[in-house]
């Protein structure tokens, strides 16, 4: 469910907060500019990856919620 392939420096699967923090950093650096074309592309790809990780976490959370809430009709 969660994209475990995205890893941080130490190779641990990225947790939601970690992914979100890094994503914010990536966006900030991209917007700051000043990096080479190659770096910007790499940054952007990393950003996409991180965004997907965060989305997976949120989708997972929402699914677990729906499972619980869905079970007992209100």
């Amino acid at each position: 469910m969660t994209d475990k392939t995205v890893r941080d420096e130490e190779g641990q699967p990225l947790g939601y907060e970690a992914a979100r923090e890094e994503l914010i950093d990536v966006v900030r650096r991209l917007e700051a500019g000043g990096s080479t074309l190659e770096e910007s592309l790499a940054l952007w790809e990393r950003g996409e990856q991180l965004a997907r990780v965060c989305q997976d976490w949120l989708d997972g959370a929402r699914k677990r919620l729906d499972d619980v809430i869905g079970e007992q009709p209100e």
């Binding site: 939601y16 966006v27 952007w44 965004a51 949120l58």
Partner: protein, 428 residues
């Protein structure tokens, strides 16, 4: 002392004289045994006299009763409000303030007073034994299996408890044991009932309930044997006897005291509807919080992804592309300028070359004479008649043989030689 009877408006008697006269007259009354009920007791520290109100047991008449603190304190059991007493007192008049009171020399409890006194003694005794100790109090079960109820058959108390309990928790189960709630048999019957309920393990709590009544009515609920029996009980007990202000000893030994039967029902049985509301509220609150949290995180993520740098990286590339394009254009511009200049330059040279090149001259009708060896002939002297020559005209070359040579002078007219030579040709 002048008799007060002769007092006249002209020679009135002073107040002190009147007060003292009254005091002396009252003193002559002497002591008397009075029966009444102690209504109010005012005992202030440091004040030697205790002030009480002695009320007639029937009529609504009362009088102030005073006694020495030592006497009051010596009374055992102590004098409590509401006690009916018999007092040996002397009417006395306190001249300074003109107040009348009975000065008690001896106070004895009687009837109810005696009763209450005995109760008080018993309370102190049992309390001393620790039967009422707070740490003995047990908590009531939250959801009792069976509720034991000891009450008078068909009593209002019974109805109150059953109705209220069922309204709060419809599936409550009762084991009602009826017993006399008044009179000599009361204590014994209540004890039997308690014993029966005690033997049923599924009974988790017992309530002893009775409506209001006089002190005498409630006396059995202070019976020592009953109190000891309750003390020995394993099952927690709720005492719901009489009204709020009544406090038989049963209240003190019970695990919980309920002021009214309805209150007892509330204590032993939870209100299911309320509990359910609580649970539902908690669950809804829980969900709301988590859903909100996820929504907030999602919103943040969406914002991040919407940022141009992420949403549309082309923006980045466009920036770079326009930069490159601009550089390219500049390059082109300066290149084309260079080319143009080069072109002009070449054009210029070509023109000059062309200008210098004989081709135009030839076009204009000139021709270039070359001798056999290809050298350009610039003077007739270089040739002799019959010498082969080639003539280069604009569009080609003519090969010929010199027939005659005609030297000319600079401005084009025949030179003498030419004229002479001309005749020589003629002679050969």
């Amino acid at each position: 002392m002048p008799s007060l009877r002769e007092s006249t408006p002209e020679s009135p008697a002073p107040v002190r004289a009147v007060a003292n006269a009254v005091a002396q007259w009252i003193d002559r009354l002497g002591a008397v045994w009075v029966e009444g009920q102690i209504a109010q007791v005012t005992r202030r520290p440091g004040v030697g006299t205790v002030f009480m109100t002695l009320r007639d047991t029937v009529a609504d008449i009362s009088v102030t009763l005073t006694c020495q603190r030592s006497l009051f304190d010596s009374l055992n059991p102590p004098l409590v409000e509401g006690a009916s007493v018999v007092v040996h007192a002397r009417p006395s008049f306190y001249a300074n303030r003109g107040s009348f009171s009975l000065a008690a020399r001896d106070i004895r409890m009687v009837g109810l007073g005696e009763l209450l006194a005995r109760l008080e003694r018993r309370r102190q005794l049992l309390a001393a034994e620790g039967l009422f100790a707070a740490e003995l109090k047990r908590d009531l079960p939250f959801l009792p299996g069976v509720v034991g109820l000891v009450t008078a058959p068909g009593s209002a108390a019974e109805r109150d408890i059953l109705d209220n309990a069922r309204r709060r928790w419809p599936s409550v189960r009762f084991d009602v044991v009826h017993a006399a709630m008044q009179g000599p048999r009361c204590a014994a019957e209540v004890m039997d009932a308690l014993d029966r309920l005690e033997r049923r393990p599924e009974v988790d709590v017992v309530v002893v309930a009775r409506g209001g009544g006089s002190v005498e009515d409630l006396l059995p609920f202070s019976d020592e044997a009953l109190v000891r029996a309750v003390h020995a009980m394993r099952t927690p007990l709720v005492s719901a006897i009489g009204h709020e202000q009544d406090q038989p000893l049963l209240d003190l030994v019970a695990d919980v005291r309920a002021s009214t039967p309805t209150d007892a029902a509330k204590l032993v049985v939870p209100d299911m509807a309320e509990e359910l509301r609580g649970v539902t509220w908690a669950r809804d609150r829980l969900r709301q919080l988590v859903v909100q949290r996820v929504a907030r995180e999602q919103e943040l993520l969406d914002q991040l992804r919407a940022r141009p740098a992420m949403a549309d990286p082309r923006v980045l590339l466009d920036a770079r592309w326009s930069e490159v394009a601009e550089l390219r254009d500049r390059a082109r511009r300066c290149l084309s300028q260079r080319i143009d200049r080069a072109a002009d330059d070449v054009g210029h040279h070509r023109a000059r070359a062309r200008a210098l090149s004989p081709l135009e001259t030839l076009r204009r009708g000139y021709a270039v004479l070359q001798d056999a060896d290809g050298h350009v002939v610039t003077s007739v002297s270089a040739l002799a008649t019959g010498a082969p020559v080639s003539v280069r005209v604009a569009d080609g070359r003519v090969h010929a043989t010199t027939t005659t040579i005609e030297p000319l002078d600079a401005n084009g007219s025949q030179t003498a030689a030419a004229q002479t030579g001309h005749q020589e040709d003629g002679d050969d």
